[in-house]
């Protein structure tokens, strides 16, 4: 069975009775069984639950009444979304034995739409990382080259979709954790507007920056996966109370007359020349489809990375204070409460998480707060204003997703080198605006390259439309890695 079949084709085949959710789910489970020892895309596989959900979807298709466009669709969900009765680790030893008593809103909406959860996808611990090497359990490998990383932090779902171990996936993007692994694995990854998808039941990393979003084999799938979970949620006070459009309705309208901005600051010395060439070629393709192209400047971009590495660790140090060995998770005994907490946290958190907690605690500590945190919040305003100014002239911004392609495991031991991976993805997180990564070519060595399209708040339809127009004019998304 072809397990690189887009969701929109799969569900059409379900409706025609050519195959069934159970047949497809069994095929994915078989492939996971066979290949995931090598790939490491999952932390937990929920085979029994998946079979039950697929059987229920079978009955609905047989009755001619599927629940919607995701009914019977097998997906991987990053292990940072709480799942009732299913261990949820966030990639950390400190939550190794945690079994949530409730579902995240994203999870309950998927269940209500009939989607089949195959399992919980691997990630860098607490979503902190760009390589999925910082999972406490095992690394995930890139399906295009097992010696390389899939990107991160949502490396599990990205590798699963690219490798044919799930039809779709969900991750989170705080500094690039959906778009960067999508680019590294050659799939589509969408980070919607902040607040478009509920964060209820999402294990928090940086609350002002965490964006849930989907991975798909093509843009249509990303639109369907977004539509299945987007919308207001009274359980998340930062959720946007705006109606959810049908994201597939206008996909094919094209880009004629659309104004595209190419930011000078996203082509920097040291970036991979093959990426620059592929992205510039993609801009020409969009121009050929009728879009107009102009240069724009986002002058605060060079400061975005440093700003992020103040704000995200600061929020993380506060959010992760809850792991104290009292309410859930690991406890290491100590001579008193503080000793117990300190030993528990030292044993339960990995090196990268400790580093970010320390950095965040430092920048929030007395005497440094204004110089670091206060200043970073002001620079964040400058990053937002850059986008506001650019969107006065253009409809969308086109840029590379990453400055380099997938690197080898162990290649970026230096934390600062690792952080530089996110230099082109962080700004859209800071501004909370939608951005997508779509495949736009391969290096001579056969590694995927990602094109990033960034839009105004809530303009997911515009972002998806341009991505779709590009995709239809090219065939990069039809290439899949050989895994055996």
């Amino acid at each position: 069975m072809d397990l690189h079949r887009p969701i929109h084709e799969l569900t059409a085949a379900f409706s025609r009775g050519e195959t069934s959710p159970t047949a497809v789910t069994e095929a994915y489970l078989g492939r996971i069984e066979k290949l995931d020892g090598k790939l490491g895309a999952y932390i937990t596989v929920t085979a029994e639950q998946a079979r039950a959900a697929a059987a229920a979807a079978d009955r609905r298709y047989r009755a001619g009444s599927p629940l919607g466009p995701l009914d019977g669709v097998p997906v991987s969900i990053k292990d940072v979304f709480c799942t009732r009765g299913v261990p949820t680790t966030s990639g950390s030893r400190i939550l190794e034995r945690y079994v949530p008593p409730y579902d995240a809103t994203l999870v309950s909406r998927l269940a209500a739409g009939g989607a089949v959860m195959l399992g919980k996808g691997n990630l860098d611990e607490f979503a902190m990382g760009s390589s999925t090497e910082h999972s406490a359990f095992h690394v995930t490998r890139n399906p295009w080259d097992l010696a390389r990383v899939p990107g991160g932090s949502s490396g599990g779902p990205a590798a699963a979709v690219a490798g044919g171990l799930a039809a779709g996936g969900y991750g989170t993007d705080t500094g690039g954790s959906i778009r960067q692994p999508a680019a590294f694995c050659g799939v589509v990854g969408l980070k919607p507007t902040f607040g478009r998808i509920s964060r209820f039941g999402l294990i928090a990393f940086a609350s002002s920056l965490d964006h849930p979003g989907p991975f798909g084999l093509d843009v249509t799938d990303a639109a369907l996966l977004l539509g299945g979970v987007a919308g207001h949620d009274s359980l998340d006070a930062t959720s946007i109370p705006a109606p959810v459009p049908d994201y597939t309705a206008d996909l094919a309208r094209g880009v004629r007359g659309v104004r595209l901005g190419v930011p000078d600051e996203y082509f920097i010395p040291g970036m991979d020349p093959e990426i620059e060439a592929a992205v510039r070629a993609a801009v020409e393709v969009l121009k050929g489809l009728g879009a107009s192209v102009e240069r724009v400047s986002l002058p605060a971009t060079p400061h975005a990375l440093a700003t992020y590495y103040v704000i995200a660790p600061a929020e993380a140090s506060s959010n992760l204070a809850r792991y104290d060995g009292v309410k859930y998770g690991l406890r290491v005994p100590g001579r008193d409460l503080v000793d117990m907490e300190s030993r528990t946290r030292a044993a339960g958190f990995g090196a990268e998480v400790k580093r970010r907690i320390m950095l965040g605690t430092y920048v929030l500590s007395a005497g440094y707060y204004d110089a670091y945190y206060g200043q970073a919040q002001k620079v964040r305003t400058l990053v937002r204003r850059d986008f506001d100014a650019a969107f006065g002239r253009v409809d969308l911004i086109v840029a590379p997703t990453t400055p380099n392609v997938a690197f080898k495991h162990g290649d970026k031991e230096d934390p600062v080198q690792m952080y530089l991976n996110d230099v082109f993805t962080i700004p859209a997180d800071m501004a909370g605006i939608p951005a997508i990564s779509v495949p736009c070519g391969f290096t001579a060595g056969g590694l995927p390259i990602g094109l990033q399209l960034i839009g105004k708040a809530l303009d997911e339809p515009g972002v998806l439309r341009a991505a779709y127009a590009y995709e239809q004019a090219t065939d990069w998304h039809r290439r899949h890695p050989e895994l055996a």
Binding site: F194, K354, Q377, L382, Y419
Partner: protein
């Protein structure tokens, strides 16, 4: 530059019992990261308001209607140590 004493102080605030090796590695790495972050101080932000949040939502309220609470057993189910309806912790009050 962050000193060894600074690192120890921050580790205490963060409730992290770090080994001597970890403290030393943390000092080196935090200093390397702070070199990059310090560049922010040079950015002119006079008269600029900070952004705490990308979405302009304030004071989101709901009606104050009673709803059934989560069952205590479900909430206590993950506790590493419990006594009846309570989370048990090491003694924090002297006799």
């Amino acid at each position: 530059m962050i000193s060894r004493e600074d690192v120890e102080h921050v580790a205490r605030l963060a409730r992290l019992a770090l080994t001597p090796d970890e403290l030393e590695r943390m000092r080196t790495q935090l200093n390397a990261i702070l070199v990059h972050i310090d560049a922010l101080r040079a950015v002119n932000t006079d008269g600029i308001e900070g952004t705490s949040h990308a979405v302009p939502l304030v004071n989101v309220m709901r009606d104050d209607e009673p709803r059934p609470p989560f069952p205590a057993d479900a909430m206590l189910g993950n506790a590493p140590d419990r006594a009846g309806e309570f989370f048990r912790v090491p003694r924090i009050i002297e006799d």
